[in-house]
Symmetry: C2
Subunit: 329 residues, 2 copies
Amino acid sequence: MRIGDLQTPALLVDAGAFEHNLATMAEALPGARLRPHVKAHKTTALAARQAAHGHRTFTCATIREVEGMAAAGLGDDLLLANEVLDASRLGRLDARVTVAVDSPETVEAASRGGVKEVLVDVNVGLPRCGIAPEKAGELAELARSRGLQVRGVMGYEGHVVGLPDRALRTELVSEAMALLLQAHADVGGEVISAGGTGTYDLNTWANEIQAGSYALMDTAYGKLELPFQQAVYVLATVISASPGGYVVADCGLKALGMDHGKPDLEGGGQVLIVSDEHLTVVPANPYRVGERVRVIPAHVDPTVAYHQRMHLVRGDEVLESWEVDLRGW
Amino acid sequence: MRIGDLQTPALLVDAGAFEHNLATMAEALPGARLRPHVKAHKTTALAARQAAHGHRTFTCATIREVEGMAAAGLGDDLLLANEVLDASRLGRLDARVTVAVDSPETVEAASRGGVKEVLVDVNVGLPRCGIAPEKAGELAELARSRGLQVRGVMGYEGHVVGLPDRALRTELVSEAMALLLQAHADVGGEVISAGGTGTYDLNTWANEIQAGSYALMDTAYGKLELPFQQAVYVLATVISASPGGYVVADCGLKALGMDHGKPDLEGGGQVLIVSDEHLTVVPANPYRVGERVRVIPAHVDPTVAYHQRMHLVRGDEVLESWEVDLRGW
């Protein structure tokens, strides 16, 4: 199949950039040093490629992601790095499942749902989930008293991973991880899980890194001078052209996560408007109606979540089409 | 089934507000005066409710939406209010299908694809699709020369529909529709199609209005003092609570369209951060871990497109669950 045969909008993964990203990361963080986060791609076929690069432990953000990974035979060691109040679907899985806990309620839910292992989720500065570091030991005790195996701690420095200044990023990771290590001293266990694509090589305190975006990348992470290449694009067709100089392509708000702002156009140009199914752009070079353009998402995770499948491509050839099978909850 | 049995995040439709919206619109624009736009809800079961209120003509934004509506038996008169370069899937449908054209290329595509009827899409001020008004007659001639039936014109005043000042909105609709009527004088045909939820009662020049958001509404349209009520919510569970005063709910960037900004929390409060699967909020009233909250989307269309189903609810009861079956392309 050729790219020209695809219905647009279509999610493309450039095979060369993708393989480069997986190989680069596997060299920096081999095996279980990386616990790839599947939320960025939501695709078990892609996770299988990460496994082929030596990573057999994975991070998930939803129960559905854990279920799908288990069903795909990738359930050696799945961490749900998120809190849940009903863990019964997790407890039924034929896989090794560890869930994050940060409160007595989530400990009780894990116990009641039949999950055997937990990590204590520690707040390291991001105003989101996670218990205060000084309370982590107490929660670990509660979990053990409920028969749960406490494998260690996790704490995501999400307030830091996107900072453009590398020196500042390093300093703030250090501060965040001091909090996580303080909690770990009280909690115990083998696992210290943290990090993301923006801190994968700076976070030397965690013993596993939860990076996910590195595989596909986006324009936000593209600004951080990381060694990963842009691998994902939304392919669109120019459906209208104005004598005024702008053209309209058939991809819009339902094909692109918009929280990080407008996407970029490969080849350059200015994106004027993103509507439900349209992108109005003033391209650097003129396009005719019927031509194809490639759009680079500003944020990979919510972009992928809109698409039913992604297509691995090399040049003009579609090598494989993968179902984005971990969508939903 | 009760709401408490739903897995979160879940898309809820309040039956009372929804019925109010459909009845209010059907009274203002009965029958074919409204051509409901399905892109706002992407759900044939919901479109069937609109049909029960007397509307048998529908507007679509994608080929998939047209196909799904035809398959659901709602194909009396489907307008694809968008340009396509490959109309072959449309030409195969057992339904009355009209497609928008704004260039010789899209006319050729309609003809080649076996579509029989077209509307000339006219640019009335929004920098998106649509031919210049003075060129519309010439394009209609081209279409007729290719054996296509030209039913009339359409022109969406999308640059106007969201303006908060009603007087200004009225003035600019008038200007936009003057352009559409100018084009219509050259094109001919019975249909003058335009408008949206924000101009449904102001646009007295078009003879059919393409409103869609009115059925479910969002916080953006909620600011316009329209007679429609907020009917759609994302139900979420509080999964974490900080002594600092914020709580975290399990709905995020993959459950909410973000192009119009952050969502609101029913009951009030400040949304601090929207992450992939999390909403960090300082609620007006405290919530405990495990409680449910309702989140009001800023933009309904790209919110619905993330969800596999929506649930029609009254009080605590789930009346029906509808598949959001028009997603994708």
